[in-house]
Amino acid sequence: MRRNQVAVVGAAETTELGVIPNTSQIQLHADAALNAIADAGLKLSDIDGFATAVETPQQVAHYLGITPTWVDGTSVGGCSFMLHVRHAAAAIEAGLCKTVLITHAESGKSNIGRTPRMVGPDSLNGQFELPYGVTTPASMFPIPVLRYMKTHGITHEQIAMVAVVQREWAAKNPRATMKTPITVADVLNSRMIAYPFRILQCCLVTDGGGALILTSADRAGDFPNKPVYILGTGESVETPMVSQMQTFDSSRAFKVAGPLAFKEAGITHKDVDHLMIYDAFAHLPLYGLGDLGFMPHEETGKFIASGHTRPGGKLPLNTNGGGLSYMHSGMYGMYALQESVRQMRGIAPAQVPGAKISVCHGVGGMFAASGTIIFTNER
């Protein structure tokens, strides 16, 4: 895909984040969509392309009153929205539609009007994983981490620092769910969920949503907010069964999507001013730093423990507080994208001064899928 041909011209989250007991999941979609439309200075009737995940596009498009000429219902977990951005950029460039709305919402905490996620007993997951007592993502996502730690020489304290540093970012963000500072000792003494991970190394469970509006970069000057251009994109999938990953030492889906995006963007790692790596659990930023090629996996733990990703560090990472401290409604990728857009617009609560390039990397399922979007505010 050609660089900087498509721009984000509208971006917004739901009016509230956290616990929203008075709103159903589909209305959270609508709330986010209406906020993004207002942010872009558009009307719903201007939207001719629509993408969403979990819910079908027809459900949400009809609820909103949209008649699209292009739809994308890619639903590969929390990074679905990165894939939507990539697909939307290609569709806009190909002339299939002009103005794309992408929505996410989840009543993850309050569970109002939530779409159930079922695993059948005759599916491969149902036959070869479910019988061994896997339940929530917390029982599955950390399964690779002990092997990762042994292979790469990563310590429990280093992984605990992921949560500590992200809480430092969250403290700067009025909309973050958890803002109280924590220490490595706090993390390592918090309630055990799935050894080696404790509750402070697991994502929050909240309600919320977000929406993005994309259009051709040539039109981007006509909108009220600073356009944010799509510089590079990548995507891949591996396996819905965490036990069947090629290796636990890295993520194949990350290693495909990340480098694709860097190649398309034509940038090196030194060019990156701001980085988001979807952190459903505390090991994900380590996998991301290694698999996206920022450094060898052996150095990821030390890099974070040395403070290079904290406020004022050389590689600001997960600057909204991440899924660990900002919010996590179930599919966090949308919120990572929102933070990258805020950073590129220069309006983030914990703004990285002068940031020009933002890398936003998402995971879907338990390392099942991946999407990477590289944004810039310069064309």
Binding site: P121, F128, L130, S139, L146, A194, M241, S243
Partner: protein, 136 residues
């Protein structure tokens, strides 16, 4: 009503040989006749070279502990804390399992420890392949 039981697999035509195997206390894998790739989970073709000429064979039932979590939250049919593990079989493929006849602690569950299959009969149709520390 009895206590909620653990989730029970339901075989499909492509996986039936595996579950017939565990019923007979055999761990059955598939090997590609064309490229000799051994793979799991079951399917009637080789995911490496796409050949449909594949054979079912009885695996050694031994392997090593590749990784695990010790889950501390409730799950139907389990008493927390319990380990959810991935075993790497000597033939190469990995599979999810539980480790039995072993304390469910980080001290007892050492990565790369040798394991052997221990069949657990759930009912007349389904026997699960669990693993225990290898003897000797």
């Amino acid at each position: 009503m009895a206590e909620p039981a653990r989730a029970k697999p339901k075989p499909t035509p492509e996986t039936q040989h595996f579950w017939d195997g565990t019923q007979a206390n055999e761990l059955r894998l598939q090997r590609c006749d064309a490229c000799a790739n051994v793979y799991f989970p079951p399917r009637p073709f080789c995911p490496s070279c796409a050949s449909r000429k594949v054979s079912v064979f009885k695996a050694s039932g031994t392997g090593r502990l590749y990784s695990y979590v010790i889950h501390h939250r409730p799950a139907p049919g389990f008493t927390p804390p319990y380990a959810i593990a991935v075993v790497e079989l000597d033939e190469g493929p990995r599979m999810m399992t539980n480790i039995v006849e072993c304390p469910q602690t980080p001290e007892a569950l050492e990565l790369d420890m040798k394991l052997e299959v221990a069949f657990e009969k759930l009912d007349d149709k389904i026997t699960l392949p669990l693993f225990r520390p290898a003897k000797g």
